[in-house]
């Protein structure tokens, strides 16, 4: 089982996006630790003082970015980098969901997108170790299509650097090695089905 930490310093916002039943479900999800109110403030204070010891137990860390100071953000980011953990930062001011896999898997999401996304399904699957790629949180069932589009971009680019080669190999582990023509067909079919 993989453990998840969710730090939300604005419980009121959680209530805006989720109905009480969903919040209850979230709070009772095993292996998902949600900190609200004073507990949340305590943890945030520690992170803002560059103390990451509370993060050790978790494989996936989800935090409201604006709750942290710049020191806190760097502390969390470094922790995930060093320990190769998954990190999701969400914030109300973010206009576009972004993903990076440089050093570690990192998602930057708008708060609304986070709460109204595939969150419940994703968290369940993550705890059970059934998540193959973190972008499933934002793209749901289309996460594979996203990888195929990335893969096609790499194939069309042709000349690849070392990092890009590694990235391509990682995608191949998930979707298989596909020639461009077959890939084009698969992408077309997947987009048609959306």
């Amino acid at each position: 089982m993989k453990k998840i930490l969710l730090l939300e310093d604005r419980p009121g916002r959680q209530m805006q996006y989720l109905d009480p039943e969903k919040i209850k479900k979230l709070k009772t999800t095993k292996d998902l630790k949600i900190l609200l109110g004073n507990d949340c403030r305590y943890m945030i204070d520690k992170l803002n003082h560059a103390d990451d010891s509370e993060l050790n137990d978790f494989t996936l860390i989800i935090i409201h970015r604006s709750a942290l100071s710049n020191v806190g953000i760097d502390t969390v980011t470094n922790h995930c980098k060093v320990n190769n953990k998954y990190l999701v930062f969400f914030s109300g001011g973010i206009s576009q969901s972004l993903f990076s896999s440089q050093s570690f898997q990192y998602l930057l999401l708008n708060s609304k997108d986070f709460y109204q996304s595939n969150m419940f399904n994703f968290l369940d699957k993550f705890i059970k170790g059934e998540i193959e790629h973190i972008t499933e949180l934002i793209y749901g069932n289309n996460w594979k299509l996203n990888l195929m589009l990335n893969y096609r971009q790499l194939l069309l680019k042709g000349e690849l650097g070392r990092t890009e080669e590694e990235f391509k190999e990682n995608i191949e582990k998930l979707i298989g090695k596909l020639p461009l023509e077959e890939l084009n067909k698969k992408i077309k079919t997947k987009i048609t089905l959306i």
Partner: protein
């Protein structure tokens, strides 16, 4: 070819090398882990550099600018920034999207895809220089530039939604007002983050184009007349409103005529109950004359499902609590809402005015309006706060008197009702006549006391005790009241003054000067109801005029309060 190619090292290096125009790499992959990364700001800065001193005929953009997450489709954002940003000087320039997908496929993948179906947008999936050159030539020949009308239509089709932390259009007007008011007073240096958001945020660019506003002039703060304490309760205080008001009140803060404070609280992570509690503590401790109060102070106030009612807003509940602390504290609602129902319900609870924050109003008028509202309410607070305190203390004395059977229960309750009615009238005064009407309502208390403590028994007037009610009259030579024996009341019935004078001397052991002040208070009322035909002395005229301002009411209230203290002891 006078064109630019915008990419992120995600296209074939062979194609990029051979591209016969300028090329710019916009690659944010290294930056997104930075603590303060903001995509719009990043794109704005990169595009600003790319277009500086250039006037390209065609712009080529790859659909996505991510090597690792194709569905970000950041090229669409870039195109929207170009269309919405006048300073880039390329709003009318044709844009060609590059990528293997068709616009219809992209439309299924991004909610930003509207831009693909607007004027001056083309696409190509052929990544060879010959095709690119042909397309460039075709565009230059057939559709070299968008007209203004086409640009307007295109922008309207974009349908850009605000970021989640701008939870309603009020939040946007709030920020625009902060920026424009701060610019007017030239204190906008303190709100660099807000300025940056408004300048670089895609949604704000969109909002600004659709709702153009005249550039603000600049002005200087006013010196506010009056003095007192002003408290700001606003979850956005730290974002810039505190600095704005400090600048607005700067002359008065410097000469110490106004004390300005802010409720310091982490609003975002506080519950509604906690915000209300902290606000009440601050009001009790600082005891302001004016509270500038925002209605929406926590996330709960922005609920849309179900929609929060104004009476559930945190600010509304704080307003109710402030009025419990002291009705005389003037509460000015600061709001970016122009919904009448928001105002009306707050007026019902005792709000004393509104400052409406709008993004497109006349700033000079707004600033003048703030001055006017503050000055008016400082004056009101000046007399209402102490009056309210006096009435509260009076009510407590009467309640205690009833409890301890010092006064008759019905009499006590009636007195409390009359006090409340008169205060309500006093609180709602708009004209000088209104002061007089409030005075008349308060005067009823004096009449009630006079009637409660005097009575007639077999034709003889008595004060409670009982002892016969003496007749006192002012002796102008002796400059004191003298007793007339036997009493000579007109028609055998003592007037209100004669009853009060008898009670004052016989029951409450007042001095002549106190009774003379009571005489003025009674004369003030009588002259208003039925003015004398003969000329009054200058002194009496001056005393009677006080019925038309707050002083008359307060003098009478103090006299009633002194009497109540006597009868409840």
């Amino acid at each position: 070819m006078n064109a630019i190619l915008i990419h992120a090292n995600n296209l074939s290096p062979f194609f990029v090398d051979k591209f016969p125009g300028d090329k710019v790499v916009i690659d944010y992959s290294q930056s997104i882990q930075r603590w303060n990364f903001n995509l719009d700001r990043f794109l704005h800065e990169e595009l600003s550099n790319a277009f500086k001193n250039h006037e390209y005929k065609v712009i080529f953009i790859s659909y996505t600018l991510s090597q690792q997450n194709y569905l970000e489709l950041t090229g669409l954002h870039i195109a929207a920034h170009i269309r919405l940003t006048c300073e880039f000087n390329h709003q009318h320039t044709p844009i060609v999207f590059i990528g293997p997908e068709t616009p219809w496929e992209i439309a299924k993948l991004s909610e930003f895809s509207n831009i693909l179906f607007t004027h001056g947008i083309f696409y190509t999936d052929k990544l060879d220089i010959g095709s690119i050159q042909n397309q460039y030539n075709w565009i230059i020949e057939k559709k070299p530039k968008l007209t203004d009308e086409e640009l307007t239509k295109s922008i309207k089709r974009l349908q850009i939604i605000p970021p989640a932390n701008y939870q309603s259009h009020h939040s946007i007007d709030n920020e625009l007002a902060l920026l424009r008011w701060s610019e007017y007073l030239q204190c906008d240096r303190q709100i660099s983050e807000v300025k940056e958001n408004l300048k670089t945020g895609l949604y704000f660019k969109y909002h600004r184009v659709l709702n153009p506003v005249k550039p603000s002039k600049t002005g200087t703060p006013y010196l506010i007349s009056g003095e007192g304490k002003v408290l700001l309760i606003d979850d956005e205080a730290e974002k810039g409103w505190e600095d704005f008001y400090k600048c607005f009140f700067q002359y008065n803060i410097n000469n110490k005529s106004i004390q300005f404070e802010t409720l310091k609280l982490d609003f975002k992570s506080s519950t509604q109950e906690n915000i209300i509690k902290e606000a009440c503590c601050k009001v009790t401790e600082f005891y302001p004359d004016i509270v500038l109060l925002d209605l929406r102070l926590c996330d709960k106030d922005f609920n849309t499902n179900p929609q929060s009612e104004p009476k559930d807003f945190t600010g509304y509940k704080i307003l109710e609590e402030i009025k419990k602390i002291n009705k005389g504290i003037q509460v000015i609602i600061t709001t970016a809402s122009n919904k009448v129902w928001n105002y009306q319900s707050a007026y019902d609870v005792g709000a004393n005015g509104y400052l409406i924050k709008k993004g497109d109003s006349d700033v000079a008028e707004d600033i003048k309006n703030i001055k006017h509202i503050v000055e008016t309410n400082l004056i009101r607070a000046g007399y209402l706060k102490c009056t309210c305190k006096k009435i509260d203390s009076l009510r407590n004395s009467l309640d205690s008197g009833i409890r301890h059977k010092k006064i008759n229960r019905n009499f006590g309750k009636e007195l409390i009702n009359l006090l409340e009615i008169s205060f309500r009238m006093y609180d709602n005064v708009r004209t000088k006549e209104d002061f007089a009407y409030a005075y008349l309502a308060l005067f009823k208390c004096l009449e009630l006391i006079a009637d409660e403590y005097t009575f007639t028994d077999c034709g003889i007037w008595q004060v409670v005790g009982p002892t016969p009610l003496n007749h006192y009259s002012w002796d102008d030579q002796m400059k004191k009241y003298k007793k007339i024996d036997p009493p000579g009341f007109k028609n055998g019935i003592p007037t209100t003054f004669e009853k009060i004078a008898a009670l004052s001397f016989q029951l409450w052991k007042y001095k002549d000067t106190d009774v003379q002040q009571l005489y003025y208070s009674i004369k003030r009322r009588n002259e208003f109801i039925h003015p004398s035909e003969k000329d009054l002395s200058e002194k009496l005229k001056e005393e009677c005029k006080r019925i038309y301002n707050h002083e008359g009411y307060f003098v009478l209230l103090k006299q009633i309060s002194d009497i109540v203290n006597k009868i409840t002891q």
